[in-house]
């Protein structure tokens, strides 16, 4: 199957919205993509304050001069456990319903431009936790890229805790 990733072109070289620009991340070895329009920063979170009795995916809070950023673990949201001890996680800064969240991932890669028409439905065998947070997949050369459903990932639904 052909690789749907396009050759990168200078800004303005093609019509806006013609491609889906995804910030690629790795979680437990898997490749995921987050729409660039939802990402406003990439940072390494320091001085996280833990939140007693918070849902498991909430790792802590960052307090920045009164602006609070909630740090969530994409690993925990996907049910693959915590990051290995001693590893450094990177966060994507994402706004969700007026709040700032930091979505912790194992690593952040490049930005890929993909043809939205090449996006395919989730494979039927995909784990239900992963499928619940996926908008579909792109089949790259030798690898599957899962497009993250940001709103689903950051939704604070009590029912998700029991999943």
């Amino acid at each position: 199957m052909s690789n749907p990733a396009t050759t990168d072109k200078p800004a303005g070289a093609q019509a806006a919205g013609a491609h889906n620009e995804l910030v690629t991340v790795r979680v437990a070895g898997e490749l995921l993509g987050v729409p660039i329009g939802r990402v406003h920063d990439v940072f390494v979170p320091n001085s996280l304050t833990s939140v007693p009795l918070a849902p498991g995916e909430i790792v802590g809070l960052l307090n920045l001069r009164g602006r609070v950023v909630t740090a969530l673990s994409l690993r925990r949201l996907l049910g693959v456990g915590s990051a290995p001890a001693g590893s450094t996680q990177t966060a994507l800064g994402i706004e969700h319903v007026g709040e700032s969240d930091g979505l912790l991932v194992d690593s952040v890669g490049e930005v890929m431009k993909l043809d939205p028409e090449q996006r395919q439905p989730n494979p039927t065998h995909m784990d239900r936790r992963w499928a619940a947070l996926s908008r579909g997949v792109y089949r790259l050369d030798g690898e599957l890229l899962i497009e993250l459903d940001v709103d689903a990932a950051l939704a604070r639904e009590p029912s998700r805790q029991a999943a």
Partner: protein
Amino acid sequence: MAFDLSMPILVVDDYQTMIRIIRNLLKQLGFEDVDDASDGTAALEKLKARKYGLIISDWNMEPMTGYELLRHVRADEKLRTTPFIMITAESKTENVIAAKKAGVNNYIVKPFNVETLKGKIDAVVGS
């Protein structure tokens, strides 16, 4: 907010993904004329070739850091008045003090969002 949206902006960062994200944020704010450079040395080359209305630079770059770029810009007769916003990590508050002493117009502490960026640009070049 009253920006000159035609103002050329130079984004300087050695992390290509971050450049793409900042470009996208600037596009959301309506800025279309955005160039980028991968470190201070590359930025100085671009600054020699074109007049920019604003520089947005990361601090932590190699081989030339954002701080060194700022010092070069402020020491250059032709560039010294160019508005300069520095981006620095949350834990590096000492960078903010050094950048202020070196003549930075404003700074952004990570993590930031589009509203923060808009506010800082407005504070520096808004009318």
